[in-house]
Symmetry: C2
Amino acid sequence: MNRALTIAGLAVAATSLSGCIAVAAVPIAAAAGVVKTSQDSQSRKKKGKRQDQAQAPRPGQVFTTEDGKTVQVTSLTALPPPSGAPAATGTAASTAPAPAPGGVPPEMQFLYGSGEASALSLQAYAALWTYVHGELRFRRDKSMITSVVMTRDSTLTSPKFEACGKRPLAVVFDVDETVLLNLGFESDAARRGPGYDQGRWTRWEQTGADKVEAVPGAAETIAAIRGDGITVIYNSNRSASTAAFTIEALNKAGLGPVTLGDTLILRDDAAPSGKDERRWKIAERYCIVAMGGDQLGDFSDLFNTKDLSTPARRNTTGNTLIAPLWGHGWFILPNPVYGSGLKGGMDEVFPKDKQWADPAEEKK
Amino acid sequence: MNRALTIAGLAVAATSLSGCIAVAAVPIAAAAGVVKTSQDSQSRKKKGKRQDQAQAPRPGQVFTTEDGKTVQVTSLTALPPPSGAPAATGTAASTAPAPAPGGVPPEMQFLYGSGEASALSLQAYAALWTYVHGELRFRRDKSMITSVVMTRDSTLTSPKFEACGKRPLAVVFDVDETVLLNLGFESDAARRGPGYDQGRWTRWEQTGADKVEAVPGAAETIAAIRGDGITVIYNSNRSASTAAFTIEALNKAGLGPVTLGDTLILRDDAAPSGKDERRWKIAERYCIVAMGGDQLGDFSDLFNTKDLSTPARRNTTGNTLIAPLWGHGWFILPNPVYGSGLKGGMDEVFPKDKQWADPAEEKK
C-alpha cells in the first residue's frame, strides 16, 4: 500500500474552558489533495529530493506565514485521539485496520457493551411476548385479529389495518441489530473509525457467520413464539446472493431454522431497500400480528419519505395514530450505531427554543 | 483570548479502503507543548520574526525529513470534521463554545432527534402503564403485592423482594433522560465537543428549566398513574441545593406537581451518588410497584460495584434472576449519550472470539 507522510493541517489552539478544540477526522477525501495516486506521490518524493536544500520543518521550529501568522511545528507524529491519550505512531496508524484512536465510540459501548442496552432489548422482547402470547394466542376466533402492517392506502396520519381472516399467524422481524448483533463487523468498524463501505459489508455477510450473537431476549422469545404455533419470518435487506451465509449466521445465533423465500425474505440485488412490498407480499399469506425492528423502515417505508424532516419524522412516532402501536404490535429495538435515524444538524436535533449556552461563558 | 497557529502534527495518509485515517481531537493537553502561556507565545512571535528568512511552510510544499520521510504541507487550515465537511475556520474554531466539527454526534442524533428513540421511549412507557394499570391496580388485596426494590441482603445473583403490606402504592422514576430530556444542556455539549464539567451542569440546573422536554410518553403515563391513585416519586441525583429549579423544570415539562422530600427526592451535596439508601427510605413509606430509569443504578447500586467488569455488568441483566424484571416492574429508557454504561475497550465491548477483520485487507 502506498503511503505518504503529510503535515495534517494547521489547527488553532485556544486556551478555552472547553479544554478541547474539536473532534476531527482526516478522511481520504481531505487527504486527496495530498495523496492522489501512487504515481503522484512518487513524483512528490522526487520533488522532495530536489528540495532537500530547503530545510524540512522540525518539531519546535517556528515560522511566520505570509499573512503574518506565527506557526510552529509540534512534536506530534500523529493526530492525538479525543481522549488525549498518546496517539498511535505514524507506522501503526497507517496499517489498516488501525485502532480507533478514541477507543470504542460511545454508541457502540452502549449497544454492544452496556447492561442498559441489554435491558432495553430484554424489555422489548418481554413486551412482544406478553402481547403475542397473552393478548393473541388465547383468542378462539383468529379471524377477529387485525394485521399490524399498514395497508397500501395508509398515510402516517391515517394508518389503516386489515382483519386477517383465516390466514395463519406470523411475527415478522428485521435481522441486523433486531435479532442479530453484528459484533464482528462493528469491532472492525470501531478500529477503523467513521466511514461505511458496501463491499466490506458484503464480505462481512460472507465471512462473519460465527462472529455474531443474538440480541438479548431474541432467541428465547422467537423459540417461544414458534412454540405457540406462530410462524416467525425474517424480512431483511441482506443480499439474496449471500443467503447461505445469513442462514448460517441465524442458525449459529440460535434464531433458526428458516426457509429461504418463506420464513427468510432477503433483498434481491435489483430490489429497493424499502420493505413495504415484501411486507405486503408476506401479508398476503400470513396474518402479521407483530413486527420487530431497529429502524422505523422495519414498520413502514412512509417514515423514510424524503419530504419528511428530521423533527417531523420523530414527531410522527408519538403524535399520530401510530403512537399506540409501540409495544402493542410494533416492537422496536435500540440501535444508536447506524441507520436512518442518525441524521440532523443542531436545529433539527435540538429545537431552537430549547437550545442553551453556558451563561458563564456568554459573560466573557 | 491568546491564540497561536500551530501545525497540528504529522498524520499518515493511507490509500486504504476505509477511506479514513482516524478520528482525532486536539485537546488543550496535546497543544500545551505549543501554547503554554501568553508570554511563551509572545517570545515565539519574536523568535518567529528572527527566522523570517527561513521560508514558512506553504500549502503544497514538500520536504524530506531527517529520517528520510516525505512530508507535504496540506492546504487544510483546521482539522477536518469526521463528516469530511469543510472544517470551521481558525477563528470560528477558537471561539468557545465552538461548533462541534462533525455536527451533532450520532448518539445525540439518536436520542434527541430520531423517531427510533422516541418509539423506544413510548414503548417503555406503554409497557409500564400496561404493567401498573393492568397487572396491579385491579388487585383487591394490595398486601399481596411485592415491592420491586431489591432488599439490603440481595445480590445480583440472588435478588430478594418484600411483600408490601399496607403501604400505599408508588412508582419511582429517575429524572434526567428518564422523564426529562435535557435538550438545552446537550445542545451546548454538542457545540463544545467531548468533556464534562460539573460547574456547567450546576449552571444548567439553575438556568435551563425552560430548555427541557418530557421524554416521549412520560407525561401522559405519569398523569395516568396518578389517575389510578398511585403516587409518583422522583429519585434524582440532581442537587438538593437547586431543588427550586428542578421543580420548575418538572412543572414546565408537565411532569409535576411534586413535593420536595416526599415525591421529589434529590441528592444532598454530601450524599453519595448511589440511590439505594434513598430507595430503601422511600420503600419504608411506600410500596414501590415499578421503577423507571435510564441507568442500571436507577434500579440497584449493585450494578455499579467496582469489581464488576463491563461484560459481567451486561450479563447480569439477562443471565440472572433479574432478567424477568425488565418490562415487569423495572422499566428502562434509552440513553446512549452519557452514563455508567458507556465504558469498555475493544475486548470488553466486543468478545475476542467475535472480533472480525475485513479479509480484503488482511490479504494485503
